[in-house]
């Protein structure tokens, strides 16, 4: 269903959430789904649940209603360690000038055939 919410002329705009209250309800879990055997689990989304069993059950209800998967992982979101976008340059750019790591860098005569 939809999504655009309007504020009438002269009406107060909706509230912004204030500073986090500290009450976040149940912990957040990241959900990973294996679409079919032979493929890796891929991140599908997240959800709140009080314990791992409930997280798994809810993940099944929320993320696999249409045969999207044959296996699910749930991982506490707080345990994920992520790289900082500000470090992206030093982490990933050094690979850009190493074209010799790719097969297309090498010229092989056509006569040799497919390699």
């Amino acid at each position: 269903m939809p999504y655009e919410i309007h504020t009438a002329p002269g009406e107060e705009p909706p509230d912004e959430p204030q500073a986090p209250t500290g009450d976040h309800g149940w912990p957040l879990w990241e959900v990973f789904v294996r679409q079919k055997r032979g493929l890796a689990h891929i991140h599908a989304g997240s959800l709140h649940a009080p314990d791992p069993e409930t997280a798994l059950q809810s993940a099944r209800d929320v993320y696999t209603r249409r045969l999207e998967g044959v296996s699910i992982w749930v991982v506490p979101s707080s345990t994920i360690v992520a790289s900082d976008p500000d470090d992206a340059a030093e982490l990933f750019e050094p690979a850009a000038d190493k074209a010799y790591r790719h097969p297309t860098f090498y010229d092989i005569p056509d006569e040799v055939g497919h390699m």
């Binding site: 269903m1 939809p2 655009e4 504020t7 009438a8 149940w26 997240s46 959800l47 009080p50």
Partner: protein
């Protein structure tokens, strides 16, 4: 990363991701929009849930239950997307219950007949798809990804709604009259879903610059009218608009003026169902408290370490 990197990503039509630097206004606009979108999905369960026990056949009943379940799922995907911006679902639900955040006005209309379930799927979900296909291209990654998933599922919603209309339109005189009555009541509110005219739309300009909004209200509305009118003709139903006419020169349908007074009345909280929707939602939340408490207590008893996560 700072505002230059942010602008460069927007210019390159790249996505902004949760850990990226973003302007406060961008963050707040998204939190508000995604939260209210989520609230809409959740409140949207009510007008349709109203007909689950009265669906005409077991087949229609199972379909309707699946659809209402989807709406709950859509709400959850969206709350998750909002949470990537640093708010909690808990706070957002509190703002909804306190009447401090809204949901789409379309759900403040009642579902009086079974025909309304058809009309909602066909028109309301149809209008929603038009809007959400645009949002699937928005600049914020988690929101765009949630939209892709939602659009896939909405397609079932719209088709099942149209099929209900088709059955009624090919049925007895009374059934045909029911279909026409539903179209008459849902047509204008569906057009209002796209919001005020571009000239009156307050937030559009900034949202467009941020690539959150990528097509204007009036363009989306026109797109919806152009697609829907032939579908109504196929049903043998008439659109309740005497000014509706194909404009050959423009290559679009012209349509009559929208009753903005009605629109603003509902937006301000005085539509037919505003109070009832929030009262019902709050009641369900309060009455479900013991289930949440029990689940929390069970988790604490069996895995005390998990709760600190």
């Amino acid at each position: 990363m700072g505002s230059e990197a942010f602008e460069a990503l927007l210019d390159a039509d790249d996505k902004i991701e949760p850990k990226d630097w973003m302007p406060d206004g961008y963050r707040q606009t998204l939190i508000r929009q995604i939260a209210q979108h989520a609230h809409s999905e959740i409140i949207g369960m009510q007008p349709e849930g109203n007909w689950i026990t009265r669906a005409p056949t077991l087949k229609r009943k199972t379909i309707l239950m699946a659809k209402v379940q989807d709406e709950a799922g859509h709400g959850l995907y969206l709350y998750s997307a909002a949470e990537t911006l640093g708010v909690s679902r808990h706070e957002l639900v509190g703002l909804l219950h306190g009447g401090r955040q809204k949901y789409s006005s379309i759900f403040n209309y009642p579902t009086l007949t079974w025909g309304d379930i058809g009309a909602i799927g066909w028109l309301v979900d149809g209008a929603a798809i038009t809007n959400q296909l645009m949002l699937a291209r928005c600049s914020y990654g988690p929101y765009a990804r949630a939209m892709v998933r939602i659009c896939k599922e909405e397609s079932f919603h719209q088709r099942q709604g149209y099929e209900i209309m088709l059955a009624l339109a090919n049925g007895s005189d009374a059934q045909q009259a029911m279909a026409q009555d539903s179209l008459n009541r849902w047509w204008w509110p569906s057009l209002m879903m796209f919001g005020p005219h571009d000239s009156e739309s307050t937030h559009s300009e900034q949202s467009t610059a941020w690539k959150i909004k990528r097509v204007s209200n009036d363009d989306l509305r026109q797109q919806f009218v152009d697609t829907t009118v032939p579908q109504a003709e196929f049903l043998g139903l008439s659109i309740p608009d005497p000014d509706l006419v194909w404009d050959k020169a423009r290559g679009h349908y012209d349509f009559g003026p929208i009753d903005w007074e009605e629109f603003w009345t509902v937006v301000k909280g005085n539509g037919p169902m505003n109070r009832e929707r929030i009262a019902h939602k709050t009641r369900a939340w309060e009455e479900g408290a013991w289930v949440r408490d029990a689940a929390t207590a069970y988790a604490a008893k069996h895995r005390p370490d998990r709760l600190s996560a």
